[in-house]
């Protein structure tokens, strides 16, 4: 479909995942291999296969040291995609959101993690969802489902339904939405996702925030409610519009910061480099 194949990007977690599934992330507890953690005495961990001879010989007390590793664990990676009518603007879902989710699916699969997709409008949409899986070609299926999904309907209450279907251990959850819902609803959603590591992905479009016409008439129709309005664009209104957009962004940022979340901006186009940098920071 696309010319250059997707390159998986690595990502780091801000926590040590629990669980038993082997994966790529340094996990909780002690393991026999993986990321080196520390040396402990043989008495504390009686595992003679991992005696570190060099360290033991250097020890003036002649104690035997054993290498200890963090186990490699897998985490579930989940994308919750808002498919309400407002996401129809600029074909965001079929475009950059599908790109992003496909990339995440591929990266998760390569890292040995499982990936799940939940598309929601007012309800959870099964045809735009995929249960946790780590099979090959998952990214293409994710993309196909998102392109086929026609965003419609009002509200994003389905996100709450999806939150209930997430795994019961800490997962990496990307919430992809334009976050135009009321703040209370958003708070509820984050409350429901308390168990998980949440990365909000804010889908924005500069054509309704900055690249506005200076003069002219525009009839805008709300993609969710259908309410139409005529707007007489002029420099002063343009300034006001930009200012309000900036304030809305700031309010959203404040809300995220209060919950210790760091959002990813998905503005106009998917910037893979920036995304990779951001995910490597954990």
């Amino acid at each position: 479909m696309n010319e250059e194949p997707l390159q998986p990007i690595p990502y780091r977690l801000r926590w040590r995942p629990e669980g038993i599934f082997p994966g790529a992330h340094p996990g909780h507890g002690e393991g026999a291999e993986g990321e080196f953690r520390r040396h402990v005495s043989l008495l504390r961990q009686p595992d003679p296969r991992r005696i570190d001879l060099r360290v033991s010989l250097r020890d003036p007390y002649g104690e035997l040291h054993v290498r200890q590793f963090a186990p490699r664990r897998a985490v579930p990676v989940v994308a919750l995609v808002d498919l309400s009518g407002s996401m129809r603007f600029g074909d965001a879902v079929a475009g950059r959101v599908a790109d992003l989710c496909a990339l995440l699916a591929l990266s998760a699969m390569r890292a040995g993690d499982s990936f799940a997709l939940f598309g929601c409008d007012a309800h959870l949409r099964e045809e735009a969802s995929l249960p946790l899986a780590r099979r090959r070609g998952l990214e293409e299926e994710v993309r196909r489902r998102l392109i086929a999904a026609q965003p419609e309907g009002r509200g994003a209450a389905g996100l709450m339904e999806a939150a209930e279907r997430l795994p019961h251990r800490c997962s990496l959850v990307f919430v992809v939405s334009d976050f135009l819902m009321p703040a209370a609803e958003l708070e509820n959603l984050f409350d429901a996702l308390w168990r998980h590591e949440v990365v909000p992905v804010v889908v924005r479009d500069s054509s309704v925030e900055e690249r506005l016409p200076r003069w002219g008439l525009v009839e805008v129709g709300d993609l969710e409610t259908g309410a139409a309005r005529l707007v007489f664009m002029r420099p002063s209104l343009r300034e006001r519009w930009r200012l309000e957009a900036r304030e809305r962004r700031q309010a959203l940022e404040t809300l995220f910061v209060r919950r210790g979340l760091r959002a990813i901006d998905l503005k106009d186009a998917l910037d893979v480099e920036a995304l990779a940098r951001r995910l490597m920071e954990g």
């Binding site: 074909d91 135009l180 479009d205 309704v208 925030e209 805008v220 709300d222 209104l237």
Partner: protein, 356 residues
């Protein structure tokens, strides 16, 4: 319902349409409230757009313009017009009847011969001066009558001065035969028969001679003078050598020998405010007319019939204006350009590259 009926009645009394059935199309005027000329651009949320009263006003104005355009078009197609009406107007002036002598002697100059060179015939001088006179008195209602062998009604009392000008313009046409002042005066008096206004009325007789007035006609004139009090002015264009009307001639003083003087005496005897001006040159005519002009100024009130006025053209102009407004708005339409998909161009380019 009665008030609705009275409103409808009031509307249809003054206004009308040629094709009432076309008015059914007026229902289309509701269309602008259902749709707009613009392409609706989706926006994620209406809350993104700042509240703006001016935008709302513009939207309302454009809807109204659309409504107005359709209404005006329908009214224009239906042939809207204002019915013929009578309007009461007020002005200073008089009701004036100009009574012209069209006998052939009027074509002569004041020297009583065919005009040559820069000489002016009596009728031409009268025409010129009377045209100026009428032009100075815009609020007069003026009627025109002429007489020769028999009286000729030319123009009833009217305040359409273009017509009066045209009538005055025609008095220097070549004249006819004789002079029958009596019946001409009777005709002039009859102009005021159904004129009941409290205005100053005057008859201005312009002639260069007179003739005997039949006794019956004399009686009729006395009757008419008693019924309709008018001011009477006689502008006597006296040719050189002809007897004057004021002085008593030396010879026999009979109406047959001296009809002008006896007409003057008869008119004096009518019991009307009467003045005669004896003009022997164009300058004297001008003086006489200025005198009349000074005398006949009193406020008058008159009813004017306004002809039916077709309003289809203004209606179409209004519609054109409204449509132009809508067109300008449509041309000013802009779109919110959403960001292009990043990978789409690559996908489009791919088949091309493969084909190459």
């Amino acid at each position: 319902m009665s008030w609705a009926g009275s409103i409808l009645d009031g509307l249809t009394r003054d206004w009308g349409v040629d094709h009432p059935l076309v008015l059914a199309l007026m229902a289309l005027a509701l269309l602008p409230f259902l749709a707009t000329p613009f392409v609706r651009r989706g926006i994620p949320s209406a809350a993104l757009v700042p509240v703006d009263p001016l935008s709302r006003a513009v939207a309302a104005a454009l809807r109204l313009a659309g409504c107005l355009a359709i209404l005006a078009l329908v009214l224009g197609l239906a042939g809207l017009h204002r019915r013929e009406q009578s309007v009461e107007r007020e002005g200073t002036g008089a009701h004036l009847v100009l009574l012209f002598d069209r006998s052939s002697s009027m074509d002569n100059s004041f020297a009583d011969r065919a005009p040559t060179g820069d000489q002016e015939s009596k009728s031409a001088a009268a025409k010129r001066l009377l045209a100026e006179f009428v032009a100075r008195r815009p609020h007069d209602r003026i009627g025109v009558a002429a007489f020769s062998t028999s009286p000729m009604p030319v123009l009833p009392l009217t305040d359409h001065h273009e017509v009066v000008d045209a009538a005055i313009d025609a008095i220097d046409r070549p004249g006819l035969a004789f002079t029958d002042v009596g019946r001409g005066l009777a005709l002039a008096f009859s102009y005021f028969a159904d004129d009941t206004d409290e205005t100053s009325r005057a008859v201005l007789l312009v002639s260069d001679g007179a003739a005997l007035i039949d006794r019956r006609v004399q009686d009729a004139l006395r009757d008419a003078a008693a019924r309709t009090p008018v001011h009477l002015y006689w502008l006597f264009l006296r040719s050189r050598g002809s007897p004057g009307i004021f002085e008593v001639p030396p010879g026999e003083d009979t109406p047959q020998a001296n009809p002008e003087r006896h007409l003057h005496l008869f008119l004096q005897g009518l019991g009307l405010p009467y003045r005669a001006f004896e003009a022997t040159s164009p300058q004297a005519v001008a003086d006489a007319i200025a005198e009349i002009d000074r005398q006949e100024t009193r406020p008058i009130r008159y009813v004017e019939r306004v002809p039916r006025r077709d309003l289809a053209r203004p209606a179409f102009m209004v519609a054109g204006f409204a449509v132009a407004l809508l067109l300008a708005a449509k041309l000013a339409e802009r779109r919110l350009a959403p960001a292009r998909r990043t990978r789409a161009p690559a996908a489009e380019a791919a088949p091309a590259r493969r084909a190459a």
